[in-house]
Amino acid sequence: MHPFSFTTAETAAVALRLAAEDPRARYLAGGTTLVDLMKLEVERPTQLIDITALPLTEVTTLPNGALRVGAMVRNSDLAHNEDVRRRYPMLSQALLAGASGQLRNMATTGGNLLQRTRCPYFRDTAMPCNKREPGTGCSALHGENRGHAVLGTSEACIATHPSDMAVALVALDAAVRTAGPQGERVIPIAELHRLPGGHPEIETTLAPGELITAVEIPALPFAARSLYVKVRDRASYAFALASAAVAVDLDKGVVRDARVALGGVGTVPWRSRAAEDALHGKPAGAATYRAAAEAALAGAVPREHNAFKIELARRTLVRALTRLEANPA
C-alpha cells in the first residue's frame, strides 16, 4: 500500500475544498472497494478524505413522492428500510443479493454506485489493462473472460459492472444528486455510468472532486410489483453471472408499462429499453417474455469463455418476469 494522508471532513464543503486542493485525493466512505484496491496497489491515492461523518444518512420521502436516500446510507440499512421494501422491493432484494452481511454493513449508497469492476486483470497490476493504465491493452479480450460483459463492450474493455444495487436503480430511473466545485446538480442515473468506448478509464460523468450526496428514486407505483433475480456460481457471496431487475404494470393481462435492467452482463448497469418496448402493450406470458429477452440481448458480443451468459441472461430475465407474474408482491 502506498503512503497516504488521512483527513476527516465534517461537512460537504470541507470535503469539496480538500478534494479541490489535492487532485489525487479520494473520498472514503465504506471503503469496501477503495481500501481493497489500495491494498492491491490499483488505487494509489495521496490522501483519503473520510466522509463517513457527513450528515447524509437519512432516507426521506419528498413532496413529489420521490424517495431521497442520503449517500452515506449503508446498504444494510437501505435494504431493510420499510419504504424501500414496500415501494421498491427489487432494490431491497438487489442489495441483499450483493456481497456479504459484513460488507453491506460498511458499504454506502454513493459508494456502491462507484463500485469498480472485478475484472481480474484490472485488479492485478502485473497485467496490462486499459482501464487501469490507458493504452496498455485489454488482457481480458483474449484471456480468462468467463465473468466478463457481453453488452456495452468495446475492443478496449469488456469489464463487467459489479453492482447489484445500481441495476435496480437504473430500472427505477433514479437521479443522482451531487455537490461539486460548480455547485449542486442532478444527474439522471442513466447518464452517470459511461460505456468504456475508447476510454474505459473514465467510468462516470462525475467531475473531479464531485461528491454524490443523495440518490432520489421517483415515485413509481407499479414498482411495488418488482423483483430482482440473481444467478451466480454459489448461493451467496458471489458476483452475478446474470441478474435481472424487473417491474411490470399489468392491466387485465396486458403489459401497460415495464422496467427492465440487467446485471452481470453489462459494462454498466444495463437498462434495457428494448426489452421494455418488447413488453409494452403485449399480453403477459412466456412468448412475450422470451421476445423481451431476445430484444434485451440483441446486441450482445460473446468472447471465448462467456458466450453462455447471453442465453443465461435471457433466461434470467424470463425467470424474473415469470416469477413476478406468478407472485405479485
Binding site: A126, S139, E144, A238, V318
Partner: protein, 779 residues
Amino acid sequence: MTAPHAEGTAGVVGTPINRVDGMLKITGAARYTAEIPLEGLLHAVMVTSTIARGEIEEIDTSAAEMSAGVIRVMTPDNTPKLESLEKYQREGGKGTGGSGGGRPTGRALSLFQDKRVEYNGQPIALVIADSFEAATHAASLVRVKYRAETPTIEMASALPSAYPYTQKVLGREPPATRRGDLAAGLAAADVRVDEAYTTPMENHNPMEMHATIAAWDGDHVTLWDSTQNVYGVRGTIAKSLSIPPENVRVISHFIGGAFGSKGSAWSHVVLAAMAAREVGRPVKIVVTRRQMFGPVGGRPHTVQQVTLGATRDGTLTALRHDSTSSTSTLEEWLESCVLATRILYDCPNEETSHSLVRLNVGTPTYMRAPGEATGLFALESAMDELAYALEMDPIALRLKNYAEADPESGKPWSSKSLRECYQWGAEHFGWSRRTPTPRSMREGDELVGYGMATATYPANRMPASAVACILPDGHVTIKAASHELGTGTYTVLAQLAADAIGVPVERIEVQLGDTDLPQNPISAGSMTVTSTGSAVHLAAMAARDKLVQLAVSDPESPLHGARHEEVEIIDGRLTRRANAPRGETIQSLLARHGGAPIEEKADAKPGDERQQYSMHAFGAVFVEVRVDPELGTVRVARALGTYGVGRVLNPKTARNQLMGGITFGIGMALMEHTRVDARNGRYVNADIAEYHIPVHADVPSIEVLFVDEQDPHVDPIGAKGIGEIGMTGVAAAIANAVFHATGVRVRELPITLDKLFPEMSIHSSNSPRQASPSRGFGS
C-alpha cells in the same frame, strides 16, 4: 450420550467432549505463528515473478532500498549461494519423486540461487523492512526485466508430451499395475464404459496463510512455522543451510488449517531463515493470499481415462484407469489417482497407470485426499455410467463386485464395513425413493437428483514417539511433536492419555508442535491418530504401569501386595478393584517417593500386521441435488455419509472432520477451479472472492454415521484416521446426482451452470426418457 465434560471414570475415549483448546481459540488466546511477538522482529515480503518462463535480466532494487524502513532487499544478485545446493547440482542432482529425492531442500524451492523463472508468481526477491507496511510498499517498487520464453500452461495442448511416471508412488506403490488379461476381460464384457474425466487445478485456501518467523542465536536457529511437519522443516533447514539438525528448533503450536499445503517446507520457510541470518535479526514472512496460488502447492490438473467392462449381471470383467496429472517444470509431483481403483472392486482383469505432464505452474502438492479425491471422481462416475448402461442399481452393482479381500495383494482386510455402509446409508438416506430414470424426480419447479459413491482412504501409519509424564500434583503431561491443524489433536490425545492412566481429561496437558519434543511424523495422510495416538496410548500405559508398580511394592501404600491387574485408577485415585474404599491418590503416592514425576517414553511403529493385512477405511456417501431446469444452478440439498473408520475417539471432532471433508467435496464438485491465463501462466482468480469455496448457504444438512467397527490389527488403539475419507467420493456422488436430475453427464469438474444448461435446453420440458442421453430405465 453427550456429556460435554465426561469425567475420566467411565472412559472418555469415544465420548464427544468439547475441544480442550476450544476456549483458547474462541478467546483469541491461542497464538498462531504470525502472532508470535519477538523483540526486534523484522517483516519480509516476497516479490514474485510476472512471467511464467524465462530468465531474470535485471532486478532494480534502488527505489525499494531507498524506501522508508527498508533494511535489505535480497535478490539473485546478492543472496549467498547455498553450499548444499551447489554440491547437489555438482553431483548432477535432478529432483524426482514427491519426497524430493536427495534434494537438500526437499521440494524444489526458489531461494534466489539463480535467475531462472519457471512459473508466474515464483518468488524472485525478498524485501526486509521494519514494518509489514514498509516491506509491502517497497516490494511494489522493485523493477524486474525478464528475457521471457514461451511457457507451457495448458494441460490440453500439452497432453501429447505426457510421459509415464516410473518412481514408486508415495515411496511404496508401483506406478503402474496389471493383473489378469484386460483385453480378454473387455472381449468378455456385454457392456462397456470408456470415458475421460478431468479435474482442474485447485489451491488450498486455509484461513491462515503460511507464516514463518526465524530467529538466530549464534549458530542455532528457531523457527515458528505454520507447518504440518516440524521435524520435516527441521530437516530441510538443516540440510539446506548445512547446519546440524540439533541446531534447528521448529515450533508450531496452532495451525489455522492446512489440508496438505503446509506439509512441505516451501521457499518462504528457508528464505526466512536465510534472511534472518543475513540481517542478524528475527524475520517474519507471511505469505499473501495471492501467493497461496503457486509458491505453496495446490492440486494438479488431472485427465483420467476409465474403461470398464461388465457382463449383463453386473460382474466386472475389465477395469482400466489411466491417470495423467500435471506437475511443474521444477519438480515431479504425482497425484496418485489410481491407488484406490486397485483395491476397490474385485475385478480379475485390471490395468492402472500414472503419467505426468510438465507445465510452467507452481509445483503441486498434497491437497486433502490427494489421489483418492480425484481418482474416485473418475472411477465412481464411471461406475454410475456402467450402472445406467446395465440398468442396474448403482449400489447393487458395487455389491456385485464387492472385494472380500484386497484384490491387488490378496491380503485379508484388517477390517472392512463397506457393505454395512452401503446398506445403512441407503436406508437412512431413503435411497429406495429414487426413481432411476434421469429427470424423473421433481420438487416444485426443480429437478431432484440422488447420487451415491464409495469413499475410501488408506489407514496409514508411521513410527511415532511420545512421552507421558505423571506429575506429583496428579496432572499428566503428554509430549509429542505432532500438530494441531484444527482437527482436534490436542483433544483426542488428552482423551487417550486420560483413559490409559485413569485421570480426568482436565488434568492432562498435551504439548505438541515442537522439535524439542519426541519425533513424530507429518500430520497428513490421516495418520496422526494412528501414529501419534498409538504412541501416546503406549507411553501413558507404560507410565501407569510404573505408577502401579510403585504402589504395589510400597509397604506404606494401601495397595501394597496387590497384584498388578487388581489395581484400578479412577479419577487419579488408585484402588483395588475388589475393595474400592482402600486406596490412595497419585499425589499421596508420589509424595512419599520424593515428589519425583513418573516419566515414560514409548516408540510406536507399525509391525508385521502391515504385511499380513490390507488396511483401509471405507464409506458410502449419498447426496440429493436440486437443479434449476432453466438456469442450470445446482444446489446440494442434503448429504449423508456412512463410514467404517475403526474406533471413533471423539464423535464430536470426528463428525466435524467428516462434515468438513464432505463440505470440501461440495466445493470440489461445484466450485473449486484455479484459473490460469493460458498465455502467460498468471493465476487469475487468486483471491477468495473469486476462487470459490462453499459458503454457509451452499452447505446443506450433512449427516455423518459411523458403523461400529472393531479393528484389532490396524494399530494399538483400533482407529483408522478420518481426516480425508470424508471428501472422497463426494464429487462423484454429486456428479451422479446431477446426471440423475438432468440427464446431463458432466465429466469435467467443477460442475458449473454453463456446463449444464446449454445441454439441458436441448430437451427442456421433454419427457424424461428423451432427456437422457444414456439409456434410462423404467421408473
